[in-house]
Symmetry: C2
Subunit: 270 residues, 2 copies
């Protein structure tokens, strides 16, 4: 007789699969945990797999063989994504978000854990097939989104520091020109923060002209990193021509009218 | 007949409970989701509750009545905490972490998502009973730990900016003196980032003399915030007298011997 019933094993297996998304967990591990036959575990997993698929929560794949195991690849339903981005767009369009200079107050939103998590899951889903090894961002506002992307992909996070003041041993600094305001700034990354030749994705909250993203790419070249893609929460319609190509943004800021107190934002899914 | 079998409902309920820890979810929500009787849902939850308790994953509490619901309060087993902090201590004690000036390279560890998450869960468990409304940190290195604490408590995150350069409308800035190096610095927080009179906890990665923490408390006083507690990943044995009292730290840096290349760290649980 099995020590644990199916209905008791399933909550534990579900928790462990969700805790380590996009990571291969061996069936032996579960079999030992429950002192149970691998065939029973496989059946448990098949039930979780089928119901997760029906609820659109993601794919659970089982790999056969001696090194066999199970991997949970979270997915977000298209309908849920559309709804989420529409709500986000509405929140960001509240007129009291307009700051002097036509900037948008969005700190409360990108530091909202549930929102950051969902954005991270959307980026993870988009970039998972390119098999990145690190998620890179620049301090400060991109960090929550990048961390949640890293969590969803089960990857380490690398944070580029703003300025040259790094207290982490030898570092590489570069000067870059912010694309919109044309100010020369410095960004730095500790030598030991990223192994040479890593495959990375860049995540950030905002892009206007793309100067910061271009700077990050240049800095990453010093680490011989391969930038597989760039994920941005919100970019701007103007300037139309950015300093980087091929980035993936979820929302687009069309216009901030300080006079009329009107903000116009588009979602990529609308 | 029920539309979904118990073994199919349980993975979904488990996922939804884990996704929103420390948050009341109504039984009606689950009953509607599965078009199922509330009594069946209650039985599902009882199974998850019992097995979570046996595995030491946390408490699941059911509240009866019209506004009844279920709440998942994650717990980490003492043994697991001891093991986790011991491994962390060993990692931080690797001699190649010594930086010029007797500093410790720990960025890779605090930016490791699995580690940040576990630390966040430990802080959440410690502070949950005081019912905080916000988790506060100061950029940059404290952010991953604070975000994961906020996630575990399902609370918003507030990030104090280093320096006076804030582009988020009116802000409060204060000068503070770093406790160890006696340098005057500035930290700022946007007025709209934190409502007046909020209950908060402060999370940070490191404390030496406590100057930064003291500065944060002073800045938070400008927001009439009540600081319920301070959680620190690693503090130092010297100076023995800190500028703040009553903080909770998980590890203590006893000594960094640059000559002998030796690092000595204690865990609060050893």
């Amino acid at each position: 007789m099995e020590k644990w019933r199916r209905s008791e094993r399933i909550p534990i297996i579900t928790k462990l699969l969700l805790e380590k998304p996009n990571t291969l967990l061996s069936l032996n591990y579960f079999a030992e945990l429950f002192q149970s036959a691998k065939s029973s575990i496989s059946e448990d997993i098949a039930i979780i797999r089928d119901v997760f698929e029906q609820f659109g929560y993601g794919k659970i794949e089982t790999l056969a063989g001696a090194s066999g195991g199970v991997i949970c690849i979270p997915r977000i339903q298209k309908q849920e994504k559309i709804k989420f981005l529409r709500e986000l767009k509405d929140k960001l369009s509240e007129e009291n978000r307009i700051l002097p200079g036509g900037f948008l107050y969005m700190t409360d939103i990108i530091f909202d854990v549930m929102i950051a998590q969902k954005v991270g899951e959307i980026f993870a889903e988009y970039f998972v097939d390119s098999s990145p090894q690190y998620v890179v961002t620049m301090e400060t506002k991109g960090i929550p989104l990048a961390l949640m992307t890293a969590k969803a992909l089960n990857l380490p996070l690398v944070i580029i520091r703003d300025g040259g003041r790094v207290t982490e041993g030898s570092a590489v600094s570069i000067n870059y020109v912010t694309g919109s305001s044309r100010i020369i700034r410095t960004m730095s990354l500790s030598r030991r923060a990223l192994p040479l030749g890593s495959k990375v994705i860049i995540i950030d909250d905002f892009m206007k002209a793309g100067g910061t993203a271009k700077g990050m790419i240049e800095l990453l070249q010093e680490f011989k990193a391969e930038v597989l893609g760039i994920g941005i929460l919100i970019d701007t319609e103007y300037p139309e021509k950015k300093l980087v190509n091929n980035y993936y943004s979820l929302l687009r800021l069309v216009e901030v009218d300080e006079q009329e107190r009107k903000i116009s934002i588009k979602s990529i899914l609308d």
